[in-house]
């Protein structure tokens, strides 16, 4: 699903965010990326999402060489991805329904289809009753679940999450992780950047550890 070959990323400031990174994530996997801040977790996700481009090396996502994805094909490429952020990034002037509908609206689905899927998605995260509320009226945990609903409403092949549980208490974090696990079980490849090592270990999933832009270890799940 994701393959990095000798990938370098150097910013204009001269900082090397990634150095000769080699990585392989197979389709249908659920993988955690950990490491200290500044280790390159976010950069890794940004390169996969084509928000930035690598300086050198090759990245293949979903059988597409990202170097060849340009112009409007970037938009089409991103329609196969779902995103989750630590700060949720919801639009505060839109209802929960409209926020969740966003990925389907930009892709041009019909209203009937959008309504059906948004409701299914909100139901999945247990917020169907709040569809007409505005994000600022929700608690942090609820906002995060709206973010999750938005990330999966268009049935992406790959879900990218950057510190999705950063601001949540352990119980809520665990709930969110279980939701991610459920999506993974129906076939979505999930990539989560997180520094909550304790929780990650409990989930027994592959862990990629970055240090100063390089791959430190790749731990396979411990058999129970």
């Amino acid at each position: 699903m994701i393959q990095f070959t000798d990938v370098y990323k150097r910013y204009a400031s001269g900082k090397d965010a990634l150095k000769k990174l080699n990585l392989f994530v197979e389709q249908g996997a659920m993988v955690f990326i950990t490491g200290r801040s500044g280790a390159g977790k976010t950069t890794l996700l940004r390169l996969i999402a084509l928000i930035e481009r690598q300086t050198r090396g090759q990245i293949i996502v979903n059988s597409q060489n990202l170097e060849r994805v340009k112009g409007n094909r970037i938009s089409l490429f991103r329609r196969n991805l779902g995103f989750m952020f630590q700060d949720h990034r919801l639009l505060n002037d839109r209802t929960v329904f409209d926020n969740v509908a966003l990925p389907m609206v930009v892709a041009g689905y019909s209203y009937q289809e959008i309504r059906k899927r948004v409701h299914a998605s909100l139901d999945k995260v247990g917020l169907l009753s709040l569809e007409k509320s505005y994000p600022l009226a929700l608690s942090g945990g609820e906002q995060q679940r709206v973010g999750i609903a938005r990330a999966v409403v268009h049935r992406p092949a790959l879900l990218l999450a950057d510190e999705p549980t950063g601001n949540l208490d352990p119980a809520l974090s665990w709930e969110s992780m279980k939701l991610f696990e459920q999506f993974n079980q129906v076939g979505v490849t999930v990539l989560i950047a997180s520094h909550d090592l304790e929780m990650i270990r409990r989930l027994r999933k592959p862990i990629i550890t970055l240090k100063a832009g390089q791959l430190l270890t790749k731990n396979l799940p411990v058999e129970p």
């Binding site: 928000i51 979903n62 268009h154 049935r155 076939g187």
Partner: protein, 322 residues
Amino acid sequence: MNVKRKPGTGPNNSLGRKFQVWIAQHARAMLVSTGQLSKNPIGNIFSIAVIGITLALPAGLHLIINNATQILENWEGNVQVAIYLKPHVDEAQARQLSQNLQADSVIENITLITKEQALNEYKTLSGFAEALEALEENPLPNVLIIRPNINSLSSVAGSELIHRLSNMEEVESAQLDHQWVNRLIAILDILKRGVIILTTLFSIAVLLIVGNTMRLSIFNKRTEIEIDKLFGATNSFIQRPFLYTGLIYGAGGSLVAWCLLLLLTFIIQDPVNQLSILYGSDFAINGLNAKEVFALFGIGSGLGLLGSWIAVGRHLSATEPT
């Protein structure tokens, strides 16, 4: 959940479906655009008013020059021909010639100004009376002033008449006496160039106004644009509502400009009519005709569209991955 879907396959696969999606996307963009406009009515009305005034200035000048040209063209059709007779032609011969010419259907009436009349007039008007006394002989020729019949006189017939008169043996030269009209027309031609320059400058001003307004509105919506793009919105999807807003600004500005011009015509109508009556003319001021109104709206809307297209394009190219 079908995760093996090929990248980029949205809901649109058949051509008919694509067209449906395209229509729906435009309808949505229009809704978003009008929704945004109604959220800040005062600010948007101000912007549209500024655009309207900016468009009204060159359009108003165009209107004034158009009317002035029309007045002059009317005058031009009302010209006189001055026939300067040769010095040896005396007053009796001149009278005879005048009577002969009166029969010509192209000629409305003829006035003879004898050399003595001309000299006396010149003496009183020029102030050189004493100097002229010193002359032994009157140097001025007899002159026939012909007023052509406007109804039967086309421009070709006019020059034909001049030609015919010039070739008569008693005639020294024949001149269309409308040099001042020609001069005014030349001045108006210069002013018309001025209108073109003004129109260009004010068009740039409209572009800047729309562009800057759009820049602010893009800045206010930058989070939304970022998230839309992250979830796969194409540039056209982002651009469309802004383009509609630009179009509405431009068309609204044109409407304001048109109303201002109607007001201008209304205000100066009465004084112009009174002036016309004093000159014995039936001239009435003309507003913009249908074609000009169409052009005003075309230019206004086009500028609005272009201004927002440039502003959004600049922003979007800055969001491409590097």
